[in-house]
């Protein structure tokens, strides 16, 4: 809790153009956030580029962070994920996806226990557990590894036409379950 409070305080200082606060934020969060970017890009060079984009965005948008609407770590994670996804899209998502084991860790049953580190995580784990296996795997592969619909279809051996609908249905169920 205190770590979160201090992240939010650091973001407030970053909003006032406090470069030291940005560096401290980086020092506290870089290992976690680089992991988030690298899971999507699977290329350390590209992940470093995404982190650079993300920290520019963080320095510009810190004033938009609203502690009422979520935790600072989630806000930072969202910015890094979108920077990584933008880069992945720019590259036509041409990262290696022929690795048959890609995402095995993320979709393994025990991995969901890592999601459940706090109350929100436990609710999400339980709601994910209630989804059909393919809906759940599709959502995890998309979120953690940035897979497109086509890549999810290949990975899960599903027809492309149905993947989009499956993932939508999964999101809808999650929203209702978490409400």
């Amino acid at each position: 809790m205190r770590a979160e409070a201090s992240l939010a305080d650091l973001l407030a200082a970053v909003a006032a153009d406090d470069r030291s606060a940005l560096r401290t934020l980086y020092q506290q969060q870089a290992t976690r956030l680089f992991g988030v970017a690298n899971a999507i890009l699977r290329d350390r060079e590209a992940a470093a580029d995404a982190m650079q984009d993300a920290f520019l965005r963080i320095s510009q948008r810190a004033g938009q962070f609203d502690a009422e609407r979520g935790e600072a770590s989630a806000w930072l994670g969202g910015i890094v994920r979108h920077a990584a996804l933008d880069l992945a899209r720019k590259r036509g998502r041409e990262m290696p996806t022929d690795d048959p084991t890609l995402g095995d860790t993320a979709v393994a049953a025990e991995a969901l226990d890592r999601v459940a580190a706090d109350a929100e995580g436990r609710r999400l784990r339980d709601c994910l557990g209630a989804l059909d296996e393919k809906n759940r795997k599709g959502i995890l592969l998309a979120f953690v590894h940035g897979l497109s619909h086509a890549q999810v279809a290949t990975r899960l051996d599903l027809p492309l036409g149905t993947v989009k609908a499956w993932i939508r249905r999964g999101l809808l169920q999650l929203r209702e379950c978490l409400a």
């Binding site: 205190r2 201090s6 305080d9 650091l10 407030a12 200082a13 006032a16 406090d18 470069r19 030291s20 606060a21 560096r23 401290t24 980086y26 020092q27 870089a30 290992t31 976690r32 680089f34 992991g35 988030v36 690298n38 999507i40 350390r44 470093a48 982190m51 650079q52 520019l56 320095s59 609407r69 979520g70 935790e71 989630a74 806000w75 994670g77 969202g78 994920r81 996804l85 933008d86 899209r89 860790t105 993320a106 991995a111 890592r114 999601v115 459940a116 580190a117 929100e120 999400l124 784990r125 995890l140 998309a142 979120f143 953690v144 897979l147 497109s148 993932i167 939508r168 929203r175 978490l178």
Partner: protein, 239 residues
């Protein structure tokens, strides 16, 4: 096109957060967000719902030079000059102000020596108006900062730790809405100081931070070193 049907819009927000939109659709959502408050709220909700999934990405140390790359890419990098006047110099005669600040610390130190050492716990008669406890990274209380009704800010170390060689600690205040932190001076050995800033007024929500700086303090009038401690003033007894 961003749909108008609420259900469709919410699904679009969810897919945007999930990352499955193609480049064009994602760019459309990103471009619509600044003007579309409802879409922004929907995206924020999805970010909050799915955020715990980020724990599935394995933490990994970035390349060691990444921060210097980021710093070089930030706006204003490489100029080596402050973009705003240093707080000490703001009022013209910098050295005079510096002297008066030093005198302020000396007064503060002697006042503390005269028996204020237990002011937090032992003398609740006139409770401090605003205060914050700055914690270490391990959540141990390290400093108490309090502002009294006269506007004076007092800093006291709870658990003094040595500073690394050739570095000093500098105290800063950042009022809410301010565009830059204001230096409150260097933290003296022993970790106790009192300062009455003229340019800012303590208020709830004001950030207090201590950074690590070169000898003599930040040369550019704004923090240059890592933030060692940070906290927000709030009404004493409210937390």
């Amino acid at each position: 096109m961003i749909p108008t049907d609420p259900q469709e819009r919410d699904m679009l927000a969810g897919e945007y957060v999930l990352g499955t939109l193609d480049a064009r659709a994602a760019a459309e959502v990103a471009a619509a967000l600044p003007q579309d408050a409802a879409l922004r709220a929907a995206v924020a909700l999805w970010e909050a719902r799915l955020a715990p999934l980020a724990r599935l990405a394995l933490p990994e140390a970035p390349p060691p030079d990444l921060w210097s790359r980021i710093e070089a890419a930030l706006p204003g990098a490489g100029q080596g000059l402050p973009r705003r006047a240093a707080p000490f110099e703001r009022r013209g005669s910098g050295s005079a102000r510096r002297v008066s600040l030093w005198r302020g610390w000396a007064l503060g130190a002697s006042a503390l020596a005269a028996g204020l050492a237990g002011f937090i716990v032992l003398r609740p008669a006139e409770p401090p108006r605003l205060m914050t406890v700055l914690l270490t990274q391990r959540d141990q209380p390290a400093w108490v900062v309090e502002a009294d009704r006269s506007g004076a800010l007092r800093l006291a170390s709870i658990n003094p730790q040595p500073v690394e060689a050739n570095r000093v600690m500098q105290l800063w205040a950042l009022p809410q809405g301010a565009t830059a932190p204001t230096s409150l001076g260097l933290v003296p050995e022993g970790g106790r100081m009192t300062v009455t800033p003229s340019a800012i007024r303590a208020a709830p929500g004001m950030l207090i931070e201590i950074t690590l700086e070169p000898p003599g303090g930040s040369p550019i009038g704004r923090p240059t070193g890592p933030v060692l401690f940070i906290g927000r003033l709030s009404a004493a007894g409210s937390s």
